[in-house]
Symmetry: C2
Subunit: 200 residues, 2 copies
């Protein structure tokens, strides 16, 4: 039995920012955006962040691509954002759900090798068993070999950007499938080229 | 009836990063930290983020102070973090809960005038009425005059850094009081000195 007032769209969104710690941060962001095909997602940028919406494949494809192309400059760059699915009433942009599942940016992203340190947290919102959902998905990242440790309020992933984004995507998609109306969010801070000593 | 396996501490934490978009980002962060008294919070920094834990007053006092002192440089600086309370089993650092409520950094922060644009989202985790809790706290920010609009997955606040942090603190603390074992998280991206046109 489902509430009639709730949206039933399974559109995925990510509200994120790319932070290049450099005087020429605008050029780095614009340069990365130019290399990414965003035609399969709804996208809007304001002065605080960018929001992309569409099928989960394309949301992860586009966010990884923008971050990877910014990070390949060698500058210390951080992706910080929140992925979301199932927010009640959230259906705007549903036309993008009919795009095919072929990822438009994977080929160009994949050739870039970027080591990242990541902290992420899953928030299953309308699920009384949420702590188990979180534990299960940390287990998935552990199986991938990307999970390095738990820290207060987050789990840490280290490795190649492609492996880490794959763990993030699987954790998020798995958690979103625990119920056909689940509302799940996931924060992720993905850092490349930090001058600080790795803490893993 | 309460589960025996859960922590009962009401310690508040924030895992956050300060991102100065400048070549001298390390100096800006270190400079800001030097101006902030962190003796009333547990604090640990790694290569991705910093975690502070203690009474809510001091967590908000310290995070606002670090951000404000970084932003007063005039550089484009963003605070991006997640505040948390009530995570089951989270009790480490409880000694900091016996500190007095006097804020150690408010006086020095208050003299700085910094205009900010903010996007925040509340996530009440173990509450079936979570959408109402969120709506109520967006209403609190509207009453403060800081709320400017809703965007996908977040609410926008604009104004003076002190007014905006007060709205964030009240929204978070109010949401955390909906139940004596509530588990609530709140993400916030607070941006100062952006070269982009304000979108409010
Ligand atoms: Ca965040």
């Amino acid at each position: 039995m489902k509430g009639l007032s709730c949206g039933t769209s399974r559109i995925v969104g990510c509200r994120f920012s790319i932070y290049p710690m450099a005087d020429n941060f605008v050029d780095i962001i614009i340069g990365a955006l130019k290399e990414v095909d965003t035609s399969k997602v709804w996208m809007k940028t304001d002065d605080v962040s960018t929001c992309v919406r569409g099928r989960s494949e394309h949301v992860f494809d586009v966010t990884k691509a923008i971050f990877t192309h910014a990070a390949k400059t060698g500058v210390h760059v951080v992706f910080n954002g929140t992925f979301s699915i199932g927010c009640p009433g959230d259906s705007e942009g549903d036309t993008y759900m009919s795009e095919s599942d072929e990822r438009l940016n994977e080929e160009a992203s994949r050739v870039e090798k970027v080591e990242v340190a990541t902290q992420f947290a899953l928030y299953p919102l309308n699920n009384p068993d949420y702590m188990q959902v979180i534990a299960d998905q940390v287990g998935v990242a552990a199986d991938h070999g990307t999970f390095t440790k738990g820290v207060h309020y987050a789990s840490r992933l280290d490795g190649d950007v492609h492996d880490v984004f794959q763990s993030l995507e699987e954790a998020f998609v798995n958690a979103s499938k625990t119920d056909d109306r689940s509302h799940v969010t996931m924060t992720a801070a993905v850092s490349a080229n930090s001058p600080s000593t790795k803490d893993n």
